[in-house]
């Protein structure tokens, strides 16, 4: 499917926002890295040490041919090969809705990385609600441009659904950015009802809930635990 200029611009904007969430010199894994534009940008702009996973052969080979470190494969099967906390950030951009097991992927992101950056199109956006309400058919928008029968997007969810899942999994939202369909940017705050209506696309910086260091009296060592195993 050919991408419209709008779509390309919105992806670029997405990338710039993702970049703004990442500290310099970090180790970054990009899942579904395509030809590697984002990781190349991160390598260049913020000296990130990058690696990508890409399912599509043509895209993976283009990324490798640019000198990027990319594993051709399916993240849902291949993420298990990466060690615990081997990246500072794991990025899943516009892909969660295409995963077979989104919940499992979320916990994998935070096993492999100490933080995860997840962006997705909000199925609760007013245009989508309106289309479904008035037309009675599955909505087609710029962010979700496919017909129901040939879409890679198999799990639709709204902003609210996502926040509930994070809560259930003890995942902390460290930062969040909403984008309207016109590309206007705003922080997603507690006034959730309106946020869930105007957010066309959302970007989240996630981590596991920080636990207080546990002090064990019998020795002077402090065992700090930053991540919880949640299923």
């Amino acid at each position: 499917m050919e991408m419209s200029m709008n779509k390309i611009q919105s992806i670029r904007k997405d990338w710039d926002l993702i970049e703004s969430l990442i500290r310099d010199n970090s180790r970054v894994l990009d899942i579904g890295c395509g030809e590697g534009d984002l990781i190349q940008q991160l390598e260049k702009n913020i000296s990130a040490k990058v690696h990508g996973i890409e399912k599509n052969q043509e895209l993976a080979l283009k990324a490798i041919a640019r000198g990027l470190s990319v594993t051709h494969g399916d993240a849902e099967k291949d993420l298990s090969q990466y060690s615990n906390q081997s990246f500072d950030y794991v990025i899943l951009s516009q892909t969660l809705q295409a995963m077979i097991e989104p919940k499992k992927i979320l916990s994998e992101l935070l096993r492999v990385g100490s933080k995860a950056i997840v962006s997705f199109p909000n199925f609760g956006h007013w245009k989508i609600r309106l289309q479904l309400l008035l037309k009675g058919r599955m909505p087609i928008t710029e962010g979700l441009p496919y017909s129901w029968y040939d879409t890679p997007n198999i799990h639709f969810f709204t902003l609210k659904d996502f926040l509930n899942l994070c809560n259930e999994m003890n995942i902390v939202i460290e930062n969040s950015i909403g984008l309207t369909s016109k590309g206007k940017q705003f922080p997603i705050d507690s006034s959730l009802l309106s946020a869930n209506i105007i957010t066309s696309e959302a970007i989240f910086l996630l981590s596991y809930r920080d636990f207080e260091p546990i002090k064990i009296k019998s020795s002077n060592k402090i065992f700090a635990k930053n991540s919880a195993i949640v299923n």
Binding site: Q57, L61, I64, A65, T71, Q81
Partner: protein, 383 residues
């Protein structure tokens, strides 16, 4: 005192590095007092010596990677990959390719004379391993005064050597391109090799490996070995596409045992022409070297616990969907270990029906990836 000599051989169109009193210790414990390697170079080494690439050949390859091979009269075995303006561009890179230890294109092996200088080694040649081949290659690089290779590239047995380089000499290389290989030679692969070896050793002309002194050649055995091996290099789909059940030079079947089918005729031709260019004993030694290759237990531990300065190393692993000799699964084991240790690795599985031999054939995706990987990484590093 050891003494090393470099000579050009105009008849064989290659160069020789001759190591005298070198006492090369082999994995088996035996020692080669003297040895020589036949090699060729293409392109030129730059001033800072940063652009050298070593290409490791597969089981039946040789130092004639590109250009004309004077033994066969044909193009080199990877002429489509290596040369001026080719994916491995000799306008940019200085390419070195040597015949492996145990081979039969001029390097020390069972076909060459032993230390006495009178008799041919034959079956008295000591067993060699992939590690021994790599150690000999590293001596050659010392002679050429190249401290660090930009890349080591190889497919199949060449991939085994490339991987071995990253284990034994990580500080002497910048990158590894490993095509259609594995951490270990599988039971199925050993089985096919064994059938090939039995064919050779059961040929009455083999004479327990000392056929040179009996003025005979185990041609039939070697041809059968090649025919078996050749089947494993193809895929069922490719064989069907290329030959199907087509008949050879006839309209009806013969009700006999002639080569009725094109595939039979093709295999017979492969067997026959192989005998003209390859030594039966060399075939035994080199298949054995592949069989003994096994890093399945040690690879991760070596990288993790043993001093292995490989932080700078960039790996590229490539497999082919229809390769059943070194399938994707086995190539991916290497990638999984490297990823689990946060090493810099890229992996690509190329969709093709051409089987294991894909790396030698016209695969534009392979060309594009190798060219891009080498030139981008070289550019990032040095330009």
């Amino acid at each position: 005192m050891s003494n090393i000599e470099l000579i050009d051989d105009n008849n064989l169109k290659c160069r020789f590095a001759i190591f005298k009193n070198a006492n090369l210790k082999l994995t088996s414990g035996e020692v080669l007092k003297n040895f020589k390697l036949a090699f060729n170079t293409f392109g030129s080494l730059n001033e800072n010596k940063t652009n050298a690439i070593l290409i490791c050949h597969a089981l039946t390859g040789d130092q004639y990677v590109t250009g004309n091979n004077p033994i066969t009269g044909k193009d080199g075995w990877w002429a489509r990959m290596v040369g001026p303006d080719k994916p491995i561009d000799t306008n940019k890179f200085f390419v070195i390719c040597s015949n492996v230890l145990g081979g039969c294109a001029g390097s020390t092996g069972p076909r060459e004379k032993n230390d006495s200088g009178k008799d041919i080694y034959g079956a008295d040649f000591p067993s060699v391993t992939i590690q021994d081949m790599v150690r000999a290659q590293s001596k050659l690089l010392d002679v050429l005064q190249i401290d660090q290779l930009f890349s080591v590239v190889g497919g199949s047995m060449g991939a085994m050597q490339a991987l071995q380089w990253s284990i034994d000499f990580p500080d002497k290389i910048k990158s590894v391109i490993h095509i259609a290989g594995a951490l270990k030679h599988s039971a199925q692969n050993i089985a096919f090799h064994e059938v090939g070896r039995q064919a050779i050793m059961n040929d009455l002309n083999w004479h327990k490996g000392n056929y040179a002194s009996n003025n005979s050649i185990p041609e039939r055995g070697l041809a059968v070995a090649r025919m078996i091996a050749h089947i494993t290099y193809l895929s069922e789909d490719a064989m069907h596409r290329k030959f199907g059940r087509k008949l050879q030079s006839r309209d009806i079947i013969s009700f006999g045992f002639d080569a009725d089918f094109q595939i039979e005729s093709y295999l017979r031709y492969q067997g026959r022409s192989f005998v003209e260019r390859f030594d039966a004993n060399s075939y035994l030694y080199l298949t054995r070297a592949m069989d003994y290759f096994d890093h399945s237990e040690s690879f991760k531990k070596t990288l993790e616990f043993i001093h292995n300065p490989n932080e700078h190393l960039k790996y590229l692993v490539i497999s082919f969907t229809s390769d059943w000799l070194f399938p994707t699964r086995e190539n991916k084991e290497i990638v999984e270990i490297l990823n689990s240790l946060s090493k810099n690795v890229s992996f690509l599985e190329i969709e093709t029906d051409k089987g294991h031999d894909s790396f030698l054939l016209d695969e534009p995706d392979l060309d594009f990836t190798i060219k891009g990987f080498l030139e981008s990484n070289y550019g990032n590093e040095y330009e």
